[in-house]
């Protein structure tokens, strides 16, 4: 059916051809190297690399901290998105602009800044450590870094939906005698569910692969505060290329799955809200 359509505009073959070649050279062929190298390994060798206790401990930390960070961002991200779209207050435009900071700030810069804040003698650390709250150089530090990098994903998926949500529905609810709480929980909240889930998945996907901001604050203690991307680096530094590749293949499969989930959520979200993201 596609071939039958008359194409008025030129350049289809050239643009699609170039797109596919460039995509293959830069992305697809290099990524396939991970899987091809992995298939050269024996099953035992693969299993020894991806299921050693130290690596399994890194999965637990990476996925646990990423889930928790995404959940924290859903809560505070929706509050921030609500404040920015629904209320006027001084500095609102500035807050709105700076929400994207974690997206634009290099991860290494974020990492050393967060460490300066949460280390024992740091800006906040000096007050938290006497209270027995130790954040830097342990799993809580990983969590703080992942919260930082995930925030814009949640806010920026909820914000356009909140802006587009017509006041009519809330007006109708109010005129029919609903309380403000009922209007928000029964009308606004269901509309926000798809973008909330999308934002959660985006923040989670970003957190799982994150390296730069975590590495400075984590302390990188084996079995305690090593993240999975660091395990790849560690194997590479020991010239264990096969081990690094095996772990990378696990991470790639998880990235693919998350990408599919996010795409599914986004198409569901745009159907529900009638807007294309």
């Amino acid at each position: 059916m596609y071939a039958r359509e008359t194409r008025v505009l030129p350049g289809f073959g050239l643009s699609l051809g170039y797109t596919l070649i460039y995509l293959s050279l830069i992305v697809l062929i290099p990524i396939s190297a991970v899987f091809i190298k992995t298939f050269e390994m024996t099953l035992d060798e693969f299993w020894a690399a991806v299921a050693s206790p130290r690596v399994v401990a890194s999965y637990k930390l990476t996925f646990g901290a990423s889930l928790l960070a995404a959940a924290i961002n859903v809560v505070f991200g929706s509050l921030l998105a609500w404040a920015i779209t629904r209320y006027t207050f001084p500095g609102r435009k500035l807050v709105d602009a700076l929400i994207d900071l974690p997206f634009a700030l290099p991860t290494a810069v974020a990492g050393i800044a967060l460490t300066a804040i949460y280390a024992k003698n740091g800006w906040l650390g000096q007050f938290l450590e006497p209270l027995g709250i130790k954040i830097a150089f342990g799993p809580p530090g990983v969590l703080v870094a992942l919260v930082f990098i995930g925030l814009p994903f949640v806010v920026r998926t909820i914000q356009p939906v909140l802006e587009d949500l017509d006041a009519e529905y809330e007006e109708a609810a109010a005129s029919l005698g609903a309380s403000r709480w009922q209007a928000v929980t029964r009308i606004v909240a269901p509309a926000l569910l798809p973008p909330l889930l999308t934002g959660f998945a985006l923040a989670f996907a970003r957190a799982v692969g994150e390296y730069g901001s975590v590495i400075f604050i984590a302390g990188n203690i084996p079995m305690v505060s090593e993240i999975t991307p660091l395990m790849i680096i560690t194997k590479l530094e020991q010239y264990d290329y096969r081990g690094a590749t095996a772990i990378a293949s696990v991470m790639l499969v998880i990235s693919f799955l998350l990408l599919l989930i996010v795409n599914g959520l986004q198409s569901w979200s745009s159907k529900r809200t009638g807007r294309t993201v």
């Binding site: 995509l23 609500w82 991860t107 403000r180």
Partner: protein, 297 residues
Amino acid sequence: MSAVAIAASPQSGGASRFERNAATRDAPWVKALVIGVGLTFFLIFLLLPLIAVFLEAFRKGVDTYFASLVEPDALSAIRLTLLAAAIAVPLNLVFGISAAWAIAKFNFPGKQFLITLIDLPFSVSPVVAGLIYVLVFGLQGWFGEWLHVHDIKIVFAVPAIVLATVFVTFPFIARELIPLMQAQGRDEEEAAISLGASGLQTFWRVTIPNVKWALLYGVILTNARAMGEFGAVSVVSGHIRGETNTMPLHVEILYNEYQFAAAFAVASLLALLALVTLALKTYVEWRVAHPSTSETV
């Protein structure tokens, strides 16, 4: 998967429209609570790290600050960062326009899958992004033997740094352009063609003016991410001082050597770049929302 794409949403009235309307107005204590909790979170998690970068950078005084920026290793890191961005941005610009043209202006099977593949580099861990080029070009890799025999260095040298940078910034321009050009459709281009314009004329006079702001933001974002990439570049760089260190890698080395003020001084340049990027983004969004004001094409 571009969560931070520009949305040309109607900002008219903005937040006040909800506050004027009795049905959408929240009780004052609710408003105070939401703003209070939201802003506290914002201050602690976003603003504080940003302020920390600049204050720590100047902790040892202005002289140390500027001395850390002009020492030879820092300058060579700045040069390499600029070089990597100068190659990655144009490459991904041409790709982004080409992909957006194919996807937005034509129908073909597998289009959605292609969009997903373009998003792929965004969801791959930067460490894995670096590793893939080691597997292809490293000594143990596919072309390792051949490259070694011909004395061509790619991994632990500048070419791999550029490649890794291209990979991590791959989708940004395409993801800015595709939704916008899909929304604009192809009516205007078809009209131009049927009135006798050539393909190139149509592209330069119709398509590009329609997407210029999104294109500009895509370039700015790609540039910021190219200059700031750490994980992917770290894997392929080899950390040779004065040769294969980019600015973020230089920050790491200084930091690990406990030269904190110098590390934060170089970091502050990158933070400044991030702030300029956000300012330009805000400006571009404003232009998209107010297309008619003083438009001179």
